[in-house]
């Protein structure tokens, strides 16, 4: 009996061993036939450094090259300068600070999960891309390093977005791109309709009604984008949703400035003067292609791709970028998205990481190619594709202006993504008429206080 049991175990082990060796043999051979197909030069050397770096980050002898891992989720798409190529330039010039850039293939939220796990496993990359709204959350969870001192050295290179990487007085990284809200519109259609680019709430409503009478919409109320689209407009109108007083969070998402935003959209929705397509649904793009949607308030980074569907149609080259209309008489705009590069907890060489961070995020032309609106103040040249789609307009210059107009008083709270969920639900109701736009901001107020209390943070009772 016992003997048989050994035999069984032996048989199973033999099977396993067979399998494993078969595998091992395969792996050794797999990469080689593939290598010649790799015509882009960059990925191969990058890959070779990864395993070595990951297994021995700690026992890197001093004086030798410092290894920095950088996890990003930039598109690296068609016609863009790949991140690995930009990084290679740095590596060539800085033999002492070798950077390995790795692209994360997934949604922002999934990358947060991975970073959290990585930090807990003591395995995190030194640098990682974080959305501005995620920064407070990551900070409260203790997943990022305090690099205030290092960051201050580079402050002069960056615009208003510099503050987005700070939580209170603590700075955790440098900004990469920013998403000021701007107004995109089809100039030719506007001319045909005899309307001007709206500059304030009143002219926006008037233009919308004129266009709607002709079956055209100069904007779409986008419930699925409500979180940052509406909070950004509120910021543009001069609102500050979250502030700290006496070490307590003060939540005010229903103030007078925000109400001005609610009033604007409520009137437009009541008059059926705007479309209500979800931003990331097919209907939005289809409405642009069939020419019924001829404008919208959009984040600056949308200029990188929003018009792709119009290539080859009669509307190609007719669109332009303008500044967001002044809501509540405020000449500002607000942030919709954008992200920075933070130094993650456990980074062994924060100073060197920040040195690269500052260099990378001032490579504005390359970043513009990636479809970003760089947060650095150096002017970026408008990529060729963008110039063609916007009829030769210097889009980047217009976006830099928008960056300069961006409200600097608008930050987020830990748990803001959850607030966004509530806002989107309420926005969907407002879009189909079963709710009011003002409800969205009421929902944000309640959800914000709940999020802060859930995180165990003190909230000022007002």
């Amino acid at each position: 009996m016992t003997f048989k049991r050994y035999m069984k175990a032996g048989a199973m082990l033999a099977v396993a061993a067979l399998g494993l060796t078969a595998c091992g043999g395969d792996t050794a051979t797999t990469p080689s036939p593939e290598a010649p197909a790799d015509t882009t030069t960059a990925p191969a050397p990058v890959d070779e450094t990864t395993p070595a770096e990951e297994t021995t980050p700690a026992d890197e002898p001093a004086g030798e090259a410092v290894q920095i891992d950088y996890l990003h989720r930039l598109p690296d798409g068609e016609g863009m300068v790949p991140v690995s190529e930009i990084v290679q330039r740095w590596n060539d010039e800085n033999p002492n600070i070798q950077v390995t850039a790795t692209k994360f293939d997934g949604e922002a939220q999934e990358m947060i999960t991975k970073l959290e796990t990585d930090v807990n496993a003591n395995n995190a990359p030194c640098l990682a891309q974080l959305g501005y709204a995620e920064v407070p959350d990551m900070f409260v969870k203790g997943l990022v390093e305090d690099v205030t001192e290092e960051a201050r050295k580079y402050e002069g290179d960056f615009g208003g977005a510099f503050g987005q990487m700070a939580v209170g007085d603590t700075i955790v990284g440098l900004p990469q791109d920013s998403g000021p809200l701007v107004y995109l519109y089809n100039a030719t259609e506007f001319e045909n309709l005899g309307i001007e680019v709206p500059t304030d709430s009143a002219s926006f409503i008037e233009a919308a009604k004129t266009a709607a009478a002709e079956g055209k919409y100069i904007a779409s109320f986008t419930p699925d984008e409500a979180t940052y689209w509406l909070s950004g407009q509120a910021a543009g109108a001069g609102a500050t949703w979250y502030s700290a007083e006496n070490d307590q969070w003060v939540v005010n998402t229903t103030g007078e400035e925000t109400q001005a935003v609610a009033a604007l959209w409520q009137e437009l929705l009541d008059a059926e003067a705007v479309a209500t397509h979800d931003r990331w649904g097919d209907a939005y793009g289809a409405a642009m292609v069939d020419g019924t949607l001829i404008g919208n308030i959009a984040a600056a980074w949308e200029t990188g791709f929003a018009l792709d569907g119009l290539d080859g149609t009669e509307y190609e080259g007719q669109w332009r970028v303008a500044q967001m209309p002044a809501i509540n008489g405020s000449e500002m705009t607000g942030p919709n998205g954008g992200s920075g590069v933070a130094v993650m907890k456990g980074c062994e060489h924060p100073a060197e990481a920040m040195e690269f961070n500052a260099w990378f995020n001032t490579q504005v032309d390359d970043l513009a190619q990636q479809g970003l609106v760089p947060a650095a103040t150096a002017p970026a040249s408008t990529p060729e594709k963008m110039s063609r789609q916007f009829g030769g307009q210097d889009v980047m210059a217009e976006l830099v202006t928008a960056n300069e107009r961006m409200s600097t008083d608008f930050g987020y709270i830990p748990g803001f993504p959850a607030v966004g969920g509530e806002m989107q639900t309420a926005a969907a109701a407002a879009a189909n008429g079963s709710g009011k736009v003002a409800d969205i901001f009421e929902a944000a107020q309640a959800a914000s206080i709940a999020a802060l209390e859930d995180a165990g943070l003190p909230v000022a009772q007002s």
Partner: protein, 308 residues
């Protein structure tokens, strides 16, 4: 009686008896399904076939379209331009020319995981079905518990474990979890219990065959249909595996095709035509495999159904 021959003519046997012959290709009239039942079945099956085929047809057409055409043209026909070439170029550019490699990676992961996993599963299942040893039922119970565990729940702990072993971002991080299949062990156990006669094993032992020889020369053959089922099951599970590589793999060279395509989709407004082309090319190996192995699979699913 003879006047009501709507469905068939009367015939005469050589010795003069008149009878109503059954329809060609059908069972005898007494048990043949009625025309209504047959029509209904056909309609239902046609619907099911459409239900499963239409998405694939849609992907074929979608992969040929430009961004504008995808939004404005009818889904089940070509758009204004046939942009397969442009979409292929775009797919290759977006994936830094790694797309074919990702498909090969997927084939590699799936084949290795399915092959090793199948052997492990039937070996374990057979051992638990045909040998008496202490803790057998407990083992079976633990395997069944594993069956109920959602993979998503296990991925993060597994990541921490693998990270301590230093094998994250290697092929082992994908292969090892995929090779272990509680469902495969369970199936192997059920099949071995029902289609490996204990008498046969005893006869082999009397004839002097060792356990290893019995397993490899006899049992594996008896379990062949089950192995095809388990093989396909693990193969598909590994191919569709997404969360695990998302957490474990960061090198572009090691990514399976699911993860790579998702990387293209996770940006605002991706070039969908190119992603659709990638999805189509990524699913072709699976379709080929199923067409090739489906008759074995049918046999596998039915095995043991009579003996119970």
């Amino acid at each position: 009686m003879a006047t009501k021959t709507a469905h068939g003519k009367l015939a005469t046997t050589p010795d003069g008896l008149r009878y109503r012959p059954s329809h060609e290709g059908l069972p005898p009239r007494s048990i043949a399904p009625s025309k209504l039942a047959r029509t209904l079945t056909l309609v239902l099956l046609a619907f099911i076939a459409l239900y499963f085929l239409l998405p694939i047809v849609w992907v074929v057409f979608a992969s040929s379209k430009t961004k504008g055409d995808l939004l404005s043209s009818f889904g089940f026909w070509f758009g204004n331009d046939i942009a397969w070439g442009a979409n292929w170029d775009s797919l290759m550019a977006w994936t830094q020319n790694l797309f074919p490699r990702w498909v090969l990676n997927s084939i590699f992961y799936s084949t290795v995981a399915a092959t090793v996993g199948t052997l492990l599963s039937v070996a374990a299942g057979y051992a638990m079905a045909k040998f008496q040893f202490p803790g057998r039922n407990a083992m079976l119970g633990i395997v069944m518990t594993g069956l109920l565990m959602p993979v998503a729940l296990l991925t993060v702990p597994m990541y921490l474990l693998f990270s301590q072993l230093g094998i994250t971002n290697t092929i082992w991080a994908i292969l090892i979890p995929c090779i272990v299949s509680p469902f495969g062990v369970f199936l192997g156990n059920v099949y071995a219990a029902s289609s490996v006669p204990t008498e046969l094993l005893e006869a082999a032992r009397i004839d002097g065959a060792g356990e290893a020889r019995i397993f490899f020369t006899m049992v594996l053959r008896l379990l062949a249909p089950a192995m095809v089922t388990i093989f396909l099951f693990i193969f598909v599970a590994t191919w569709n595996n997404f969360l695990l590589p998302l957490m474990m793999i960061s090198s572009a060279e090691l990514k399976p095709v699911t993860l790579g395509l998702y990387g293209m989709m996770s940006y605002f407004d991706p070039n969908r035509g190119a992603v659709m082309l990638g999805a189509l090319l990524g699913v072709l190996p699976l379709i080929a495999l199923f067409l090739f192995l489906q008759r074995f699979w049918q046999a596998g699913l039915a095995a043991g159904s009579v003996k119970g």
